[in-house]
Amino acid sequence: MTMDDTAAGDPRTPQPVLSVQNVSYWYGDKRALDDVSFDVYPGRVTALLGPNGAGKTTLFSLITRLFDAPSGRIEIDGRAASDWGFKVLGPLGVVFQQPTLDLDLSVRQNLRYFAALRGLARRDADERMEKALTSLDMQERIGEKVRALNGGHRRRVEIARALLHSPKLLLLDEPTIGLDDPTREAIVRHIHDLAVADNIGVLWATHLFDEVESKDALVVIDKGRVVARGDVAGIEKETGSDSLAEAFRRLTGDRVEEVAA
């Protein structure tokens, strides 16, 4: 079952900041993604909901050009990766599922390193660092080594890092995995606020229903295929479900036990 995004085709709709069109991918002879298509719009969170092994991380690797997409087209801010190469990554901020901070460096050193990679001047970088860390309540930890931070604080630093260069598109691959509930809720809230306040398009890969808000766009992926897309209410209605959990169960069959409620 696939439902088209109701926003598509509306002349008042802004251009998508991410457009994934007919993307497929294989690991050897094992198909990981099968003709995946969806768009992400600025100022809104798009939840990419799917069980473990659905293909979410593979999709992120293709969007970030860590893998080459053998078929289909991926556009970031109107630029296709196949035409623009590494330059498409300019407006992109990413928080990978796997922690990517350097544990032996301090928060400041990690962020300065990233700022340098993004071509930011030292003074500009320091100002942005302060702003991003303050918004995540991490300013006081700036001089500490990452190794000394707990999982939730490390995640916050990774989010701050992904926002340093004011990206138009923010990719979050299961960013709350392994975190306690209060930390999870704080991060979910912060990202949703941020999307609206800074007009950022957010693609949030998750397998946790409670991270999806009613106003979010939703792409449900299972076994490498998009099985539904639209808004939460629309998908619940189309599947005749009372909740997102039930809708998900109907869309993915017995794989629902892999998904936390």
């Binding site: 690991y27 050897g28 094992k30 990981a32 799917g50 473990n52 092994g53 659905a54 293909g55 979410k56 991380t57 593979t58 992120f60 690797s61 970030t64 050009r65 860590l66 893998f67 190469g85 590494f86 330059k87 498409v88 990554l89 300019g90 992109l92 990413v94 990978f96 599922q97 796997q98 922690p99 990517t100 901070l101 350097d102 032996d104 460096l105 050193q109 300065r112 390193y113 990233f114 700022a115 340098a116 990679l117 993004r118 071509g119 930011l120 001047a121 691959d173 299961e174 890969a205 397998h207």
Partner: protein, 271 residues
Amino acid sequence: MTFLHYVRAFRGIVWRELLRFLQQRERFLAALVRPLIWLIIFAAGFRAALGISIIPPYETYITYDVYITPGLLAMIQLFNGMQSSLSMVYDREMGSMRVLLTTPLPRWFLLVARLFAGVLVSLFQVYTFLFVAYLCGVELPPWGYVAALPALILTGMMFGALGMLLSSTIKQLENFAGIMNFVIFPMFFASSALYPLWKMREGSWILYEICFYNPFTWAVELIRFAFYQKMNWEALAVVAGCTAVFLALSVWAYDPSRGIQQRKAMGPAGG
């Protein structure tokens, strides 16, 4: 992407690598202790047994510890090149390489910047070793310490590129230690680091041929000649050529998804 962006990114990559190195005191000590053992114990023993006749670039008789110093500098750089590439494999496996590779800059530039950062680390090790060696009585021509710098940068690049090529070809971190042993020790021993090539030819023609075609030999000779402010053009050509080939192959072969692809193909993990 402006020129300034490239400069800042390059500076950032070098700065991070130096910071990491300074925080890894064990790595620094190991890099010093290894060649110092060779210099203090091995060379002291052989000093009496081995005489080095006057061969270019030397214009007078030299002691054995002076002879093996360029070889030990090359060994430091070879170890450092392998260590840097091991760190690249580790970063690839642990995920931090992704931060670098999702930067909107060409992959070749990012890898070369990373390589150059490794070379700077090796230079720090080399000059610290030279200082300790000087305190131990190994005296080289004073201007040689400056004249050897370009040669050391080039040889550092060659060993770094070789390490990067190896790291591009291996699939998993665990395989790397074995490969290092198969590369470092044969390269070091089958070279002119410990004995001049003519002496090697007297002992075994086959071994001489192996040493002659070993790029490590030419790196050692380039450094040796540079210390005496002389240019060994043959060595320069070999080292520059090998650097270019290793670098081109390693950039071409570098695949950030290596390891991930294999794990995924064996079974689903993560999202």
